[in-house]
Symmetry: C2
Protein backbone atom coordinates (compact mmCIF):
# COMPACT_ATOMS: atom_id res chain seq x y z
CA UNK A 1 0.00 0.00 0.00
CA UNK A 2 1.24 3.48 -0.80
CA UNK A 3 2.57 5.42 2.17
CA UNK A 4 2.84 9.01 3.34
CA UNK A 5 6.48 9.86 4.01
CA UNK A 6 8.33 12.78 5.59
CA UNK A 7 11.99 13.06 4.61
CA UNK A 8 14.97 15.18 5.51
CA UNK A 9 13.00 17.22 8.02
CA UNK A 10 15.60 19.21 9.92
CA UNK A 11 15.33 20.17 13.56
CA UNK A 12 17.77 21.81 15.94
CA UNK A 13 19.19 19.96 18.92
CA UNK A 14 16.66 21.80 21.07
CA UNK A 15 13.81 20.68 18.83
CA UNK A 16 13.02 23.67 16.62
CA UNK A 17 12.21 23.17 12.94
CA UNK A 18 11.63 26.85 12.23
CA UNK A 19 12.95 30.00 13.81
CA UNK A 20 10.98 33.00 15.01
CA UNK A 21 9.91 35.93 12.78
CA UNK A 22 9.32 34.21 9.42
CA UNK A 23 9.40 36.59 6.47
CA UNK A 24 10.24 36.81 2.79
CA UNK A 25 13.88 37.35 3.73
CA UNK A 26 13.81 34.59 6.35
CA UNK A 27 11.25 32.08 5.05
CA UNK A 28 12.23 29.55 7.74
CA UNK A 29 12.51 32.13 10.48
CA UNK A 30 15.60 33.71 11.96
CA UNK A 31 18.50 31.32 12.40
CA UNK A 32 16.86 28.26 10.87
CA UNK A 33 18.68 28.27 7.55
CA UNK A 34 21.69 26.69 9.20
CA UNK A 35 19.56 23.65 10.03
CA UNK A 36 19.56 22.93 6.29
CA UNK A 37 23.16 23.57 5.36
CA UNK A 38 23.90 19.84 5.45
CA UNK A 39 21.30 19.36 2.67
CA UNK A 40 22.52 22.23 0.49
CA UNK A 41 25.98 20.64 0.54
CA UNK A 42 24.85 17.36 -1.03
CA UNK A 43 25.28 16.39 -4.68
CA UNK A 44 21.65 15.29 -5.08
CA UNK A 45 20.25 18.54 -3.71
CA UNK A 46 22.54 20.64 -5.87
CA UNK A 47 21.64 18.62 -8.97
CA UNK A 48 17.88 18.65 -8.37
CA UNK A 49 17.90 22.36 -7.60
CA UNK A 50 20.30 23.25 -10.42
CA UNK A 51 22.80 24.83 -8.07
CA UNK A 52 26.36 25.55 -9.14
CA UNK A 53 25.70 23.94 -12.47
CA UNK A 54 24.61 20.76 -10.74
CA UNK A 55 28.10 19.35 -11.02
CA UNK A 56 29.24 19.77 -7.40
CA UNK A 57 28.16 18.67 -4.00
CA UNK A 58 29.15 15.95 -1.59
CA UNK A 59 28.32 12.27 -1.69
CA UNK A 60 28.01 10.10 1.42
CA UNK A 61 25.37 9.46 4.08
CA UNK A 62 23.68 12.85 3.81
CA UNK A 63 23.46 12.61 0.05
CA UNK A 64 22.00 9.12 0.28
CA UNK A 65 19.24 10.37 2.58
CA UNK A 66 18.44 13.29 0.28
CA UNK A 67 18.21 10.88 -2.66
CA UNK A 68 16.06 8.41 -0.70
CA UNK A 69 13.55 11.20 -0.08
CA UNK A 70 12.97 11.52 -3.80
CA UNK A 71 12.71 7.80 -4.52
CA UNK A 72 9.34 6.19 -5.19
CA UNK A 73 7.42 9.44 -4.72
CA UNK A 74 4.46 10.16 -7.04
CA UNK A 75 3.02 13.29 -5.43
CA UNK A 76 3.82 15.88 -2.74
CA UNK A 77 1.70 17.63 -0.13
CA UNK A 78 2.87 20.87 1.44
CA UNK A 79 1.53 23.66 3.59
CA UNK A 80 0.84 27.13 2.31
CA UNK A 81 3.87 28.54 4.13
CA UNK A 82 6.22 26.16 2.37
CA UNK A 83 4.81 27.25 -0.99
CA UNK A 84 5.31 30.92 -0.36
CA UNK A 85 5.45 33.85 2.02
CA UNK A 86 2.01 35.21 1.11
CA UNK A 87 -0.62 35.01 3.84
CA UNK A 88 -4.36 35.50 3.42
CA UNK A 89 -5.98 35.68 -0.06
CA UNK A 90 -3.76 35.17 -3.11
CA UNK A 91 -2.55 38.57 -4.19
CA UNK A 92 -3.00 37.93 -7.91
CA UNK A 93 -1.43 34.88 -9.52
CA UNK A 94 2.17 36.00 -9.70
CA UNK A 95 3.63 33.81 -6.97
CA UNK A 96 4.48 30.36 -8.31
CA UNK A 97 6.60 29.00 -5.45
CA UNK A 98 10.20 29.43 -4.40
CA UNK A 99 11.62 27.14 -7.07
CA UNK A 100 11.50 28.99 -10.43
CA UNK A 101 9.90 27.78 -13.68
CA UNK A 102 11.12 24.17 -13.33
CA UNK A 103 10.56 23.10 -9.71
CA UNK A 104 12.40 20.01 -8.40
CA UNK A 105 9.22 17.94 -7.89
CA UNK A 106 8.29 16.74 -11.43
CA UNK A 107 4.93 15.42 -10.17
CA UNK A 108 1.66 16.82 -8.78
CA UNK A 109 2.04 18.99 -5.68
CA UNK A 110 -0.92 19.65 -3.40
CA UNK A 111 -0.75 22.92 -1.47
CA UNK A 112 -2.95 23.25 1.61
CA UNK A 113 -4.69 26.63 1.70
CA UNK A 114 -7.88 28.32 2.78
CA UNK A 115 -8.04 30.25 -0.51
CA UNK A 116 -9.00 28.57 -3.79
CA UNK A 117 -6.81 29.04 -6.83
CA UNK A 118 -6.54 27.44 -10.27
CA UNK A 119 -3.80 24.83 -10.72
CA UNK A 120 -0.45 26.05 -12.06
CA UNK A 121 1.31 23.92 -14.65
CA UNK A 122 5.07 24.37 -14.41
CA UNK A 123 7.91 23.11 -16.56
CA UNK A 124 9.27 19.61 -15.97
CA UNK A 125 6.05 17.90 -14.87
CA UNK A 126 5.28 19.81 -11.68
CA UNK A 127 1.64 20.93 -11.29
CA UNK A 128 0.64 22.91 -8.20
CA UNK A 129 -2.89 22.12 -7.02
CA UNK A 130 -4.49 24.22 -4.29
CA UNK A 131 -6.56 22.24 -1.79
CA UNK A 132 -9.12 23.99 0.39
CA UNK A 133 -10.79 20.82 1.68
CA UNK A 134 -8.33 20.09 4.50
CA UNK A 135 -5.59 17.59 5.15
CA UNK A 136 -7.64 14.45 4.42
CA UNK A 137 -8.82 15.80 1.09
CA UNK A 138 -5.22 16.61 0.17
CA UNK A 139 -4.16 13.13 1.31
CA UNK A 140 -6.82 11.43 -0.82
CA UNK A 141 -6.10 13.53 -3.90
CA UNK A 142 -2.34 13.10 -3.59
CA UNK A 143 -2.64 9.34 -3.13
CA UNK A 144 -4.80 9.12 -6.25
CA UNK A 145 -2.43 11.31 -8.24
CA UNK A 146 0.58 9.25 -7.13
CA UNK A 147 -0.87 6.20 -8.91
CA UNK A 148 0.46 3.63 -6.49
CA UNK A 149 3.66 5.41 -5.60
CA UNK A 150 4.18 6.98 -2.18
CA UNK A 151 3.26 10.55 -1.27
CA UNK A 152 5.80 12.86 0.28
CA UNK A 153 4.76 15.35 2.92
CA UNK A 154 6.74 18.59 3.03
CA UNK A 155 6.57 21.28 5.71
CA UNK A 156 6.02 23.45 7.45
CA UNK A 157 5.91 22.46 11.05
CA UNK A 158 2.17 22.88 11.57
CA UNK A 159 1.39 20.83 8.45
CA UNK A 160 3.45 17.90 9.74
CA UNK A 161 1.84 18.27 13.17
CA UNK A 162 -1.63 18.09 11.63
CA UNK A 163 -0.79 14.89 9.78
CA UNK A 164 0.87 13.40 12.87
CA UNK A 165 -2.25 14.10 14.93
CA UNK A 166 -4.38 12.46 12.21
CA UNK A 167 -2.00 9.46 12.34
CA UNK A 168 -1.60 9.54 8.57
CA UNK A 169 2.21 9.57 8.44
CA UNK A 170 3.88 6.20 7.84
CA UNK A 171 7.51 7.25 7.77
CA UNK A 172 9.19 10.15 9.55
CA UNK A 173 12.81 10.90 8.75
CA UNK A 174 14.20 13.60 11.02
CA UNK A 175 17.57 15.25 10.78
CA UNK A 176 18.99 16.69 13.99
CA UNK A 177 21.51 19.48 13.47
CA UNK A 178 24.07 20.43 16.14
CA UNK A 179 22.59 23.89 16.66
CA UNK A 180 20.53 25.50 19.38
CA UNK A 181 17.84 27.94 18.24
CA UNK A 182 16.25 28.77 21.58
CA UNK A 183 13.03 30.01 19.95
CA UNK A 184 10.72 29.20 17.06
CA UNK A 185 8.38 26.35 16.14
CA UNK A 186 9.02 22.94 17.63
CA UNK A 187 8.11 19.83 15.68
CA UNK A 188 7.12 17.88 18.81
CA UNK A 189 4.50 20.26 20.13
CA UNK A 190 0.71 20.22 19.98
CA UNK A 191 0.69 16.43 19.57
CA UNK A 192 -1.41 15.49 22.63
CA UNK A 193 1.26 13.16 24.04
CA UNK A 194 2.01 11.66 20.64
CA UNK A 195 3.04 10.89 18.03
CA UNK A 196 2.05 7.30 18.71
CA UNK A 197 3.11 4.03 17.18
CA UNK A 198 6.46 4.99 15.69
CA UNK A 199 9.54 2.79 15.98
CA UNK A 200 13.10 3.78 15.23
CA UNK A 201 14.42 1.85 12.25
CA UNK A 202 17.57 3.85 11.55
CA UNK A 203 19.66 6.16 13.75
CA UNK A 204 22.98 7.22 12.28
CA UNK A 205 25.10 10.34 12.19
CA UNK A 206 27.12 11.83 9.38
CA UNK A 207 29.90 14.31 10.07
CA UNK A 208 27.25 17.05 9.99
CA UNK A 209 23.96 15.76 11.41
CA UNK A 210 22.02 12.87 12.91
CA UNK A 211 19.53 10.97 10.77
CA UNK A 212 16.65 9.36 12.69
CA UNK A 213 14.19 7.33 10.65
CA UNK A 214 10.93 6.25 12.31
CA UNK A 215 8.14 4.17 10.83
CA UNK A 216 4.64 3.18 11.86
CA UNK A 217 3.07 -0.22 11.27
CA UNK A 218 0.96 -0.37 8.11
CA UNK A 219 -2.54 1.07 8.37
Amino acid sequence: MARLRVHNFSVSLDGYAAGPDQSLENPMGVGALRLHEWAFATRTFQQSHGLEGGSGGEEGIDDQFIAAGETGIGATIMGRNMFGPIRGPWDGNDWKGWWGENPPFHHPVFVLTHFAREPIVMDGGTVFHFVTGGIRDAFDRAMEAAQGKDVRLGGGVSTVQQYLRAELIDELHLVVAPSLLGRGERLFDHLDGGPFGFSSVEFVSSRAVLHARLTRAAR
Copy 2:
Protein backbone atom coordinates in the same frame (compact mmCIF):
# COMPACT_ATOMS: atom_id res chain seq x y z
CA MET B 1 40.16 27.19 35.47
CA ALA B 2 37.95 24.47 36.84
CA ARG B 3 34.73 23.95 34.93
CA LEU B 4 31.15 22.83 35.59
CA ARG B 5 30.31 19.87 33.35
CA VAL B 6 27.15 17.93 32.51
CA HIS B 7 27.76 14.46 31.11
CA ASN B 8 25.73 11.62 29.68
CA PHE B 9 22.47 13.51 30.09
CA SER B 10 19.91 11.48 28.14
CA VAL B 11 16.97 12.96 26.29
CA SER B 12 14.41 11.40 23.98
CA LEU B 13 14.23 12.31 20.32
CA ASP B 14 11.30 14.58 21.20
CA GLY B 15 13.34 16.31 23.88
CA TYR B 16 12.19 14.78 27.18
CA ALA B 17 14.73 13.99 29.89
CA ALA B 18 12.16 12.67 32.36
CA GLY B 19 8.78 11.06 31.92
CA PRO B 20 5.53 11.99 33.63
CA ASP B 21 4.42 10.69 37.05
CA GLN B 22 7.75 10.36 38.86
CA SER B 23 7.58 8.03 41.87
CA LEU B 24 9.64 5.61 43.96
CA GLU B 25 8.88 2.90 41.39
CA ASN B 26 9.57 5.23 38.45
CA PRO B 27 12.17 7.70 39.72
CA MET B 28 12.69 9.10 36.22
CA GLY B 29 9.00 9.08 35.35
CA VAL B 30 7.06 6.63 33.24
CA GLY B 31 8.91 5.44 30.16
CA ALA B 32 12.16 7.31 30.80
CA LEU B 33 14.25 4.36 31.97
CA ARG B 34 14.75 3.32 28.35
CA LEU B 35 16.56 6.60 27.70
CA HIS B 36 19.35 5.22 29.90
CA GLU B 37 19.63 1.64 28.67
CA TRP B 38 22.61 2.58 26.50
CA ALA B 39 24.47 3.61 29.69
CA PHE B 40 23.55 0.54 31.71
CA ALA B 41 25.02 -1.59 28.93
CA THR B 42 28.51 -0.09 29.17
CA ARG B 43 31.47 -1.66 30.92
CA THR B 44 32.35 1.50 32.85
CA PHE B 45 28.83 1.95 34.23
CA GLN B 46 28.59 -1.70 35.24
CA GLN B 47 31.97 -1.56 36.96
CA SER B 48 31.37 1.71 38.79
CA HIS B 49 27.93 0.56 39.94
CA GLY B 50 29.06 -2.98 40.79
CA LEU B 51 26.53 -4.56 38.44
CA GLU B 52 26.81 -8.19 37.40
CA GLY B 53 30.04 -8.54 39.32
CA GLY B 54 31.49 -5.64 37.36
CA SER B 55 33.04 -7.98 34.82
CA GLY B 56 30.66 -7.43 31.88
CA GLY B 57 29.45 -4.57 29.78
CA GLU B 58 30.26 -3.22 26.36
CA GLU B 59 33.20 -1.15 25.28
CA GLY B 60 33.09 1.35 22.42
CA ILE B 61 31.86 4.90 21.92
CA ASP B 62 29.17 4.79 24.61
CA ASP B 63 31.59 3.38 27.15
CA GLN B 64 34.15 6.05 26.31
CA PHE B 65 31.60 8.80 26.97
CA ILE B 66 30.57 7.26 30.28
CA ALA B 67 34.23 7.07 31.31
CA ALA B 68 34.90 10.66 30.18
CA GLY B 69 32.12 11.84 32.47
CA GLU B 70 34.04 10.51 35.48
CA THR B 71 37.43 11.87 34.46
CA GLY B 72 38.90 14.91 36.18
CA ILE B 73 35.90 15.38 38.47
CA GLY B 74 36.48 16.43 42.08
CA ALA B 75 32.92 17.07 43.26
CA THR B 76 29.31 16.60 42.14
CA ILE B 77 26.22 18.78 42.43
CA MET B 78 22.77 17.25 42.12
CA GLY B 79 19.16 18.16 42.70
CA ARG B 80 17.10 16.78 45.54
CA ASN B 81 15.08 14.62 43.13
CA MET B 82 18.19 12.89 41.86
CA PHE B 83 19.21 12.10 45.43
CA GLY B 84 15.93 10.51 46.36
CA PRO B 85 12.16 10.30 45.97
CA ILE B 86 11.38 12.09 49.25
CA ARG B 87 9.74 15.52 48.88
CA GLY B 88 9.38 18.15 51.57
CA PRO B 89 11.16 17.81 54.97
CA TRP B 90 13.54 14.88 55.45
CA ASP B 91 11.53 12.05 57.00
CA GLY B 92 14.23 11.01 59.46
CA ASN B 93 17.72 10.26 58.26
CA ASP B 94 17.17 6.82 56.75
CA TRP B 95 17.42 7.77 53.09
CA LYS B 96 21.04 7.84 51.91
CA GLY B 97 20.58 7.97 48.16
CA TRP B 98 19.85 5.37 45.50
CA TRP B 99 23.36 3.95 45.43
CA GLY B 100 23.89 1.80 48.56
CA GLU B 101 26.65 2.10 51.16
CA ASN B 102 29.42 2.73 48.59
CA PRO B 103 28.10 5.22 46.03
CA PRO B 104 29.93 5.55 42.69
CA PHE B 105 31.08 9.14 43.32
CA HIS B 106 34.08 8.78 45.69
CA HIS B 107 34.17 12.56 46.27
CA PRO B 108 32.01 15.27 47.90
CA VAL B 109 28.45 15.49 46.55
CA PHE B 110 26.37 18.62 47.08
CA VAL B 111 22.62 18.04 47.14
CA LEU B 112 20.37 21.06 46.53
CA THR B 113 17.50 21.14 49.00
CA HIS B 114 15.28 23.52 50.93
CA PHE B 115 15.67 21.41 54.08
CA ALA B 116 18.90 21.38 56.09
CA ARG B 117 20.49 18.08 57.04
CA GLU B 118 23.82 16.96 58.48
CA PRO B 119 26.37 15.60 56.00
CA ILE B 120 26.41 11.84 55.45
CA VAL B 121 29.76 10.09 55.19
CA MET B 122 29.49 7.01 53.00
CA ASP B 123 31.99 4.29 52.19
CA GLY B 124 34.52 4.84 49.42
CA GLY B 125 35.03 8.59 49.84
CA THR B 126 31.56 9.88 49.03
CA VAL B 127 30.19 12.52 51.41
CA PHE B 128 26.71 13.92 50.82
CA HIS B 129 26.40 17.59 51.78
CA PHE B 130 23.00 19.27 51.83
CA VAL B 131 22.95 22.82 50.51
CA THR B 132 20.09 25.16 51.35
CA GLY B 133 21.74 28.34 50.03
CA GLY B 134 20.82 27.90 46.36
CA ILE B 135 22.65 26.98 43.20
CA ARG B 136 25.47 29.55 43.49
CA ASP B 137 26.25 28.48 47.03
CA ALA B 138 26.39 24.86 45.87
CA PHE B 139 28.58 25.90 42.93
CA ASP B 140 31.03 27.75 45.19
CA ARG B 141 31.21 24.96 47.76
CA ALA B 142 31.63 22.27 45.12
CA MET B 143 34.36 24.20 43.33
CA GLU B 144 36.23 24.62 46.59
CA ALA B 145 35.81 20.97 47.50
CA ALA B 146 37.02 19.87 44.05
CA GLN B 147 40.42 21.45 44.75
CA GLY B 148 41.13 22.49 41.19
CA LYS B 149 39.40 19.59 39.48
CA ASP B 150 36.14 20.10 37.59
CA VAL B 151 32.67 19.82 39.12
CA ARG B 152 30.08 17.56 37.60
CA LEU B 153 26.43 18.59 37.55
CA GLY B 154 23.91 15.77 37.71
CA GLY B 155 20.15 16.00 37.26
CA GLY B 156 17.35 16.36 37.35
CA VAL B 157 15.98 18.46 34.58
CA SER B 158 15.09 21.53 36.63
CA THR B 159 18.52 21.57 38.26
CA VAL B 160 20.25 21.65 34.89
CA GLN B 161 17.82 24.35 33.70
CA GLN B 162 18.65 26.51 36.72
CA TYR B 163 22.38 26.27 36.05
CA LEU B 164 21.84 26.91 32.32
CA ARG B 165 19.85 30.06 33.10
CA ALA B 166 22.62 31.19 35.44
CA GLU B 167 25.12 30.53 32.61
CA LEU B 168 27.33 28.52 34.95
CA ILE B 169 27.64 25.39 32.79
CA ASP B 170 30.81 25.11 30.69
CA GLU B 171 30.25 21.75 29.04
CA LEU B 172 26.97 20.05 28.16
CA HIS B 173 27.10 16.51 26.87
CA LEU B 174 23.68 15.33 25.75
CA VAL B 175 22.72 11.86 24.63
CA VAL B 176 19.74 11.58 22.28
CA ALA B 177 18.00 8.21 22.38
CA PRO B 178 15.84 6.98 19.47
CA SER B 179 12.64 7.01 21.55
CA LEU B 180 9.61 9.25 21.68
CA LEU B 181 8.14 9.93 25.13
CA GLY B 182 5.38 12.36 24.21
CA ARG B 183 5.13 13.72 27.76
CA GLY B 184 7.34 14.62 30.68
CA GLU B 185 10.00 17.22 31.42
CA ARG B 186 11.93 18.72 28.54
CA LEU B 187 15.49 19.81 29.00
CA PHE B 188 15.14 22.77 26.62
CA ASP B 189 12.25 24.52 28.34
CA HIS B 190 12.15 27.53 30.67
CA LEU B 191 15.41 28.85 29.27
CA ASP B 192 14.21 32.27 28.05
CA GLY B 193 15.44 31.70 24.50
CA GLY B 194 18.70 30.15 25.64
CA PRO B 195 20.94 28.46 26.42
CA PHE B 196 23.34 31.00 24.97
CA GLY B 197 26.94 30.77 23.89
CA PHE B 198 27.29 27.03 23.35
CA SER B 199 29.10 25.56 20.35
CA SER B 200 28.97 21.98 19.20
CA VAL B 201 32.39 20.36 19.54
CA GLU B 202 31.40 16.72 19.04
CA PHE B 203 28.38 15.12 17.37
CA VAL B 204 28.63 11.38 16.85
CA SER B 205 26.32 8.39 17.03
CA SER B 206 26.95 4.93 18.39
CA ARG B 207 24.73 2.01 17.39
CA ALA B 208 22.40 3.03 20.21
CA VAL B 209 22.36 6.81 20.65
CA LEU B 210 23.66 10.20 19.51
CA HIS B 211 26.29 11.99 21.57
CA ALA B 212 26.24 15.78 21.28
CA ARG B 213 28.91 17.66 23.21
CA LEU B 214 28.58 21.44 23.54
CA THR B 215 30.94 23.84 25.25
CA ARG B 216 30.92 27.50 26.22
CA ALA B 217 33.86 29.84 26.05
CA ALA B 218 35.72 30.20 29.34
CA ARG B 219 34.17 32.55 31.87
